[in-house]
Amino acid sequence: MSGRPAGLWALSIIIGLLFVALFIYIAYDIVTKGLTNWSEWVISAPFIKLGRTFWFVVAGILWVIGTALFFMEIAGYTVTREFKIVRNRVKWDAVDVTITALAAAIYGGSLAATGGLPVIPGFTWLRPGNSLAPLFGILFGVPGALGTAIGNFIADALTGYLSIGSIGGFVGNFLIAYIPYKLMTDHSFRTPRSIVEYYIWGAVVSSIYCSLYISWWLDALEPVIGLPRAMVWGWFAPWVIFNNAIVTTTITPILGYILYPPIKMRGLFWKDRLA
């Protein structure tokens, strides 16, 4: 490792560490200010300052795009980088269906395993299993992303959070896995480009997108679900970003680095399974 590659590695590691430091700082901020004082959290500030109307419009646009992408992939279509709609080439054979079922079991099980540890009783729980969501998309593509969606739905039932709001969580968790799968160009976790792409798309953008997607759904269905809109944008949205990003910035890259070679070697990597 010398010259330009060494410089690129150093840069990618610095970018990764900056993201890790940011979310550790946010964790420190939340702990020092108190879990119930959510309106004072640093991560809540953009939501509170810009207000509900702004976020409802922005998240609404993202909701429409995310929902369209979800149904397109289920129907067998996808959008290319040139914004063309083409067949997604997922075979949906026995192996793809098995990958979906196993991803659902592992993701749902890992979320439920810590379901008895509520951070704020009645509101949310510790979710280290979130670290698996982008990984399943990056390694297994659409089947992995669908498994993530189902796993989250099962975990909602096991932890007492199942409601109409879980439909938003279903697609939102699909998107956490789908965004890095679709937008990373190098999924190997073995190059500076792959590391930087992962931190941008897999750790930060997917966490924010998922949070805004679910928050919009909870806001729009407030009369049905009953979570006050002030809490949706002031507490729920920033908390989901934090709860996802704190594990996807720290644990996921390590898991990805370890799991990519055996998955690739066994022919289960999504690019090797396209029709």
């Binding site: 289920i74 129907a75 067998g76 075979k91 949906w92 054979d93 026995a94 192996v95 793809d96 269906v97 098995t98 990958i99 979906t100 079922a101 196993l102 659902a104 079991a105 592992i106 749902g108 099980g109 890992s110 979320l111 439920a112 395993a113 810590t114 379901g115 008895g116 540890l117 509520p118 009783p121 009645g122 509101f123 729980w125 669908l146 189902i150 739905f153 099962i154 975990a155 909602d156 039932a157 096991l158 932890t159 007492g160 959070y161 199942l162 409601s163 109409i164 879980s166 439909i167 049905v224 055996p262 998955i263 066994r266 022919g267 289960l268 399974r273």
Partner: protein, 99 residues
Amino acid sequence: MSVAVQAAVLTVIGVIIHLVGVALYFIAKRREGLLLTLLGGLWTLAMVIFYIYSTLGFYGAVGLRAESPGPAVTTTLGFIILIIGIIVAVRLARRGGVM
């Protein structure tokens, strides 16, 4: 909308997805039907878990009721599902994806 009505709506959605999948796979002979069958089946399984937990009184107003066995049962079940999932996944990977 009450929790019971929300659960009924979700159950109906799960059953519809499952039936559409079965129809697509077995009648229309479309491969995507297998995915929808699985998706609807697991969705419905989640609803079965919901009804069992409700009957046993594991749920509080939101989340699990701390005084009930719910948190312990969920943690245990979660670990069991996770471990079985990992064991099956490792065996699957060793066979290159063939069960």
